[in-house]
């Protein structure tokens, strides 16, 4: 039902956007632009689901359409709104960005409102497939596991220093909404979000990016939270606390892109640490190389995600009485169910720029990894046992901007 509704919204939006694109706006104060993508994907394994993909061809996981309106109140003040219609049931269609920007000169830019969180190189344009090489950016970094937006303030200072042209961005804010993974939504509160992003272009060809983000977070995992409350009531505070998704996280990121006319090399790395047992520490990176046979670009990407081992609490005794044994088993089963898993992938992709604003892509990714909360989701208990921890994802798609 929800999906059908989203499809209707998407279709209405498509018609509206195409009509809008035909209109010539006499008013220079208003700029209309937009982007969209139509992506089909198929996973060649019938035991698991991965990022919503199964072994049935689907168009609904990543296809979307968005329209952006920039209204210039004065030469330096602009209101920007981005409306997005998505066909994925894990995401809401609606206002994605809504902010006021103040740009007194080319060196300073301030924004206030609802914005996308600039975790990594492409985090704030994750929906704009035209902006990057892949159909699915490396899941190891760009998974929907994290919240995408925040409400707050951001300031960017651009500077030139000898052979370096760079920028510093500082932002702060909060997010009160849902986090989605494996088709479930969990109420999430992110507070005291603070981040810094450093960008530098050295000598024209080398782009460097580094960022740091920290925030307090609280996720209500419903049945797990209820179980933790039972454990707390029974006096097993250590076990109860280990099932609580509440604490502080820090994310460190570094990346580099080297571009020449006919090839590029890219690397990005990130590390997430938190003070909760349930949210494991994660280190991810990818290496990418692309060669241009203009207008076609061939890309190869290797990506890796390494999770830290979770140390379970041990305050529930085992072998004392059947009631406690049941609690012990339930606790360990819960921990097992929320376990994250390592994931490696190798992607071969083609991008054909058929026009200045249209690109077609084809991509195949070989994944190796276990069942886990942000990787493979088993379709049944028996499928979980049958899964050999390997699967290939095939995707084709069209990206456009207007």
């Amino acid at each position: 039902m929800y999906k059908r509704l989203n499809t209707r919204v998407l279709l209405c939006f498509a018609v509206a956007c195409l009509s809008v694109s035909q209109v010539s706006y006499a008013a220079e104060k208003l700029e209309i632009s937009g982007f969209g993508r139509l992506v089909a994907g198929y996973l060649d394994d019938n035991n698991v689901k991965f990022e919503g993909y199964t072994n049935e061809l689907t168009f609904s996981e990543q296809s979307l359409l968005a329209i952006q309106a920039d209204y210039h109140l004065t030469d330096t003040l602009t209101v920007t709104s981005q409306l997005l219609a998505h066909n994925n049931s894990e995401r809401d269609s609606g206002i994605e960005w809504f902010y006021l920007s103040y740009e007194p000169n080319t060196q300073w830019l301030f924004k206030a409102g609802k914005m996308r969180t600039p975790f990594y190189q492409y985090s704030d344009v994750l929906d704009v497939g035209f902006a990057y090489a892949w159909l699915s950016p490396p899941q190891q970094l760009y998974s929907a596991f994290l919240f995408n937006q925040y409400e707050g303030l951001s300031g960017i200072h651009r500077f030139a220093l000898g052979p370096v042209s760079g920028s510093v961005e500082l932002y702060t804010g909060r997010y009160h909404g849902d986090t989605s993974f494996q088709q479930k939504r969990y109420p999430t509160d992110i507070d005291n979000l603070r981040g810094i992003v450093l960008n530098a272009i050295v000598g024209g060809n080398l782009k460097l990016r580094s960022s740091y983000i920290t925030a307090d977070f609280a996720l209500d995992l419903e049945e797990i939270t209820q179980f933790a409350n039972i454990l707390r009531g029974a006096g097993f505070v250590e076990s109860a606390n280990s099932l609580t998704m509440e604490g502080e996280f820090d994310i460190y990121q570094a990346g580099a892109i080297y571009e020449e006319f006919d090839y590029h090399l890219a690397w990005e790395w990130m590390k997430i640490t938190s003070n909760t047992i349930l949210a494991p520490n994660i280190t991810s990176y990818y290496l990418q190389g692309g060669y241009v046979f203009d207008p076609v670009t061939v890309n190869v990407t290797f990506a890796n995600l390494i999770t830290s081992a979770v140390e379970p609490a041990n305050d529930i005794p085992f072998g004392v009485n059947p009631g406690l044994d049941q609690l012990f088993i339930a606790y360990n089963t819960t921990l097992q169910r929320t376990k994250a898993s390592d994931l490696k992938s190798l992607t071969l992709g083609l991008r054909w720029d058929a026009g200045v604003n249209v690109a077609f892509k084809a991509e195949v990714t070989h994944y190796q990894g276990g069942i886990g909360i942000s990787t493979f989701e088993p379709l049944s208990e028996s499928a979980a046992l049958a899964f050999d921890e390997r699967a290939n994802l095939y995707q084709i798609g069209m990206e456009f901007v207007f």
Binding site: R116, F130, A160, S167, F261
Partner: protein, 144 residues
């Protein structure tokens, strides 16, 4: 239907860009600014950063030509060092992340020259054989 016609036209343009990028190798461009200080000279890195929306030590507003023009293909090849598709991809990232916007575009060389001539603090690239009015300053030239 109109959309598909647009798409077909874009494909034709793209073919033209492909061939113009081959032709681009043998041509040169001049980068011209409307500034009071006639001694200003920029190097290739500064011009590249300027037209890619990055900060440089001189405050100038870049103005450009449409993607399907040969002069832009020469400029992309010899100064920016990226294909048009990479440049478009880059600008979509900048625009939709709210960081910066691509330079203003003029339809042809005549319009561009007229605009630069009358707007202080602007800078643009032209074919090397275009007559540049005396009040404008050549700040960079390829092939030298």
């Amino acid at each position: 239907m109109r959309y598909f016609m647009k798409m077909s036209l874009m494909l034709v343009f793209w073919g033209a860009i492909g061939s113009s990028e081959c032709a681009a190798e043998s041509r040169d461009v001049v980068v011209v600014a409307n500034v009071d200080n006639k001694d200003i000279r920029l190097d290739k890195r500064a011009v590249r950063n300027l037209f890619m929306g990055n900060a440089i030590e001189v405050l100038l507003e870049p103005i450009t030509l449409p993607p399907e023009t040969l002069t832009r293909a020469v400029f992309n090849t010899k100064v920016i060092g990226l294909t048009e598709s990479r440049i478009q991809s880059y600008w979509s990232q900048m625009r939709f992340s709210g960081r910066s916007k691509p330079p203003k575009e003029m339809q042809d060389v005549e319009d561009l020259l007229a605009y630069i001539s009358t707007h202080k603090g602007t800078v643009a690239f032209f074919p090397a054989d275009v007559d540049i009015p005396d009040h404008l300053t050549v700040v960079y030239q390829t092939g030298q």
